[in-house]
Symmetry: C2
Subunit: 156 residues, 2 copies
Amino acid sequence: MARAQLDTLDYKILQMLSVNGRKPFLEIARECNVSGAAIHQRIQKLMSMGVLKGSECLIDPASVGYETCAYMGFFLKDPSRFDEVVEKLKAIPEVVEIHFTTGQYDMFIKLYAHNNDHLLHIIHEQLQGLGLARTESLISFKEVLKRQIPVSEPGD
Amino acid sequence: MARAQLDTLDYKILQMLSVNGRKPFLEIARECNVSGAAIHQRIQKLMSMGVLKGSECLIDPASVGYETCAYMGFFLKDPSRFDEVVEKLKAIPEVVEIHFTTGQYDMFIKLYAHNNDHLLHIIHEQLQGLGLARTESLISFKEVLKRQIPVSEPGD
DNA sequence: AGTGAAAATGGTGCGTC
DNA sequence: GACGCACCATTTTCACT
């Protein structure tokens, strides 16, 4: 998908909602000097275009028992079975990102685990048997920063 | 931070909000068979505890002009200056994650760029001069999956 | 901690420009 | 594409339990 044709108002809306997903439409309207109905229409347009894909609350992983965050690079025994491996990975709730990457690995994932033992358990019980030729892991001690992509107009 | 002491209702609320950050409190209340005021109180409690850290809308990166997603591992010339490097990285809006990792790298980041040229530009103009001894990059062609951490009660 | 009700605020559809 | 307005839903507060 290419860059969508969005105007200043669209970008302002996205910017505000990326900071606070529950920001009232009327508040956005006031800050943009337009009516609430206009914001309502814009948001529906952005949704139907697929630019806006919903919203999520932000949860502190450690508070809900996820102390370990890891990245893993995979080499597949049979790279043509990529889609099949993706489906099996999706079935593992601890896997939160899957990337198709250039160069170094066939596939790169991010996952959370309760602790290091749990991570090992996931690797042994769930990831092996997916037809992985080799894996490399990288464990994050601390996520120092986590934020959204910058939202700004082309000209900025 | 360790796992917070949360009960079934707290987990239900987090679960629902992690799927839809704008879900009305009254709807949550009805599904949990409690009053809207109770949900309101719980959410305030979860916020003040730092379990809930706000909400964000989900934006399709390509639609706002970010076609390239990359991960980079850094080796610092002087690892004791970690904090200083973190501050400088935070000033680069394209950098969306910073991790302190075990083993392989001193630091691991995720960043978005408009395209490969823009990525190279960021690496040359912004990342060099941070005192990096060596870097390794990994470019994501396609983010096949991106979702939240699983929210479930300890016993599940 | 939770409840119910009241007051304030917000979301949504529609006719109009 | 945006506006105003009307109607309904949601948020927030509060006295009470």
